[in-house]
Symmetry: C2
Subunit: 382 residues, 2 copies
């Protein structure tokens, strides 16, 4: 076991109707005026905006609405949100949406208190250790942002997709009502499954030490995602499956599965972030393409763990059989496994490789991921 | 999935040498004067007291030492600690020890700010929602107290063993350096294994709904405990096994394995607390006696989950085979499985049964655990 610090002070409020209590929860923490951020206008039509705004109004919390945050959220929109937050002098920011909205909100929360341009915090040019309090009502289960301290945002000008992280960014309270994810379209459900699996496997496969306990926790999450994705594709009304899927998404990236693992990195995310930054592909769709391709290149470096994965997750023997089973499962649920399905060609590889190489340190892949290696992995995904 | 709130704001500092930083950690949180509580004088001889006190002194934190806390900690000692804490006007309490020391510290922390007698908080006669800040340096991995909000203490006069719980009792910081558990004697290692398994199985078997995700997390903990106990019995120097054992102990009772489970109770703990309260048996030793006896009585009420346990944990088929395998494993590691090994006779059953019945509500077993049922379970342990 590696030394670690585990500190996750987010309060999770999980279950039916919890979003109706968001006003009371925030008022109890002293919030008086909030910037409510969201993505599409869907929450205006399905009643969620009304529910949340009534809950806030009932406690006398003033609300400033800020919509239009897109998937693969962009820094220009974050800057816009920061300006609105400052103009209205809000004392907290509430995300109502999925990981893109929440990540944007975290960046805004840090940016409001930071003097310079918020992108400095992503590039390392600037530092921060405080932020406005962040709250969340989740409508998508995928990114785990609801119980962690980081945020990923793209810069449209520089074509970079980078992250920030700080204890200050843990949401104070995250509401996870699985029923709110019922309106997630089929394609985003399967992309989310790929995203959760990607969060689970990075440390599992790349750590120099990954104790059995942590491996078992990872396998618990992955098996649950596979099982509940299939249940939800068969019956979108299965709220128990929806609940387990949502909680698995949270556990996959709240640190519990990798605390104690040693020396791991995020190669799949490194490569996928470049696909998203350059071609605006959905994050989960990019990951389901990258993962099998990366595994085919990497598995001989950790054959025992890949054999374990094959056995524990799919009941098949041998690393290559396990990778094939994962790829087949992605095909079965309908998430892409080839770059061509994302509209990406071999002639794009040079740009992707250069983009990945620009951000290797943040993902811990400065060591073995040369341009040639990244090219080889991309070729595996052709 | 059942609605739940998950909020565990304890910071875990896990790993080699972390106890040397306890002073700096506490100073950063504003602590100036601390009551340092411990059990036996062992920490005076093995250097731990010196390490911790030097770490505190280096930060200018004043120290008042308070030793002599025993296993199955007693309320008279808690009252004594409260008096010392008040006399010296400490602003925090630090436990250096195992669950008994930490639970006593939590009770003191609540009792210092409460006006009346601290036992009122256990019986429900009194209420509290604030406490002195609690810190911990753990020397035993078993109870999970380092990452939860409850404490169990015995009253020697009334022969009750009861618990308190409050968000105010989460340790601010818990140091878990597995190497500090090296001096735990063999018998307490195996009692601890039984304790962790007991924490894991209560909700697993008794919940009216126990989703697959949560069942998998429980199984991950139990399999790890079985595996690492055997490794440690074979080689007490195996610090990786020691680390996994310690982290499994923490995860078994920090809520992560049962958040989302519905309607569960603590029958094994209910019965064992009476054994400890009346006969002062080690908690884990009592639990390894009670568990198989309880399982033999209970399994037909949840046959599917018992069959699952048999298969997943021991690779055997059928509830009874699984129970037999657990009992055999307890025998193998040398923790008791019969009341006679604890010096308890059939003539003691009336007193035990009456004691259990006195506290049924706290353990959620008011429903089916009549005197006759408790007697039947005890008979299974003869």
């Amino acid at each position: 076991m590696q030394n670690f610090t585990y500190y996750v002070p987010t309060r999770i409020e999980f279950g039916t109707g919890k979003e109706q209590q968001i006003g009371a929860m925030m008022a109890a923490q002293g919030v008086r005026k909030v910037l409510l951020c969201y993505g599409s206008e869907r929450i205006m039509h399905d009643g969620l905006f009304a529910t949340v705004s009534q809950s806030l109004a009932a406690e006398g919390i003033e609300l400033v609405a800020f919509g239009g945050i897109i998937s693969n959220p962009v820094i220009s929109k974050v800057r816009e949100g920061i300006a609105v937050a400052r103009e209205h002098q809000v004392d907290a920011i509430l995300a109502v949406g999925g990981g893109s909205v929440l990540d944007s909100v975290k960046a805004m929360a840090a940016g409001v208190t930071y003097g310079g341009d918020v992108w400095d915090l992503f590039t390392g040019k600037g530092q921060f250790d405080s932020a406005l309090p962040v709250y969340a009502v989740m409508t998508l289960a995928a990114t785990g942002s609801e119980m962690n301290a980081s945020a990923v945002v793209s810069n449209e000008d520089t074509h970079e997709k980078l992250f920030i992280g700080s204890v200050a960014l843990y949401p104070k309270i995250s509401v996870i009502n699985p029923a709110l994810t019922r309106s997630v379209p089929r394609d985003y459900l399967v992309y989310s499954a790929a995203d959760i699996i990607a969060h689970s496997i990075e440390a599992y496969f790349t750590a120099s030490q990954h104790p059995n306990l942590q491996s078992r926790l990872v396998e618990s999450v992955i098996k649950t995602v596979i099982e509940t994705t299939e249940l939800l594709l068969a019956n979108p009304q299965d709220d128990d499956a929806r609940g387990q899927f949502a909680w698995a998404a949270t556990l996959a990236l709240n640190g519990i599965t990798f605390a104690g693992a040693a020396g791991f990195s995020y190669p799949n995310h490194a490569i996928e972030h470049s696909l998203s930054a350059l071609f605006n592909v959905p994050h989960g769709a990019g990951l389901s393409v990258v993962m099998p391709a990366w595994m085919k290149w990497y598995h001989s470096r950790n054959p025992q763990q890949f054999a374990r994965f094959a056995d524990k997750i799919f009941g098949v023997q041998g690393a290559e059989a396990g990778i094939a089973a994962l790829e087949a499962w992605f095909v079965k649920i309908g998430t892409p496994v080839r770059l061509s399905q994302l509209g990406i060609k071999e002639s794009d590889f040079a740009a992707i490789t250069a983009n990945v190489r620009g951000n290797v340190t943040g993902f811990g892949i400065a060591d073995i991921y040369t341009e040639a290696v990244i090219g080889e992995i991309l070729h595996n995904a052709l």
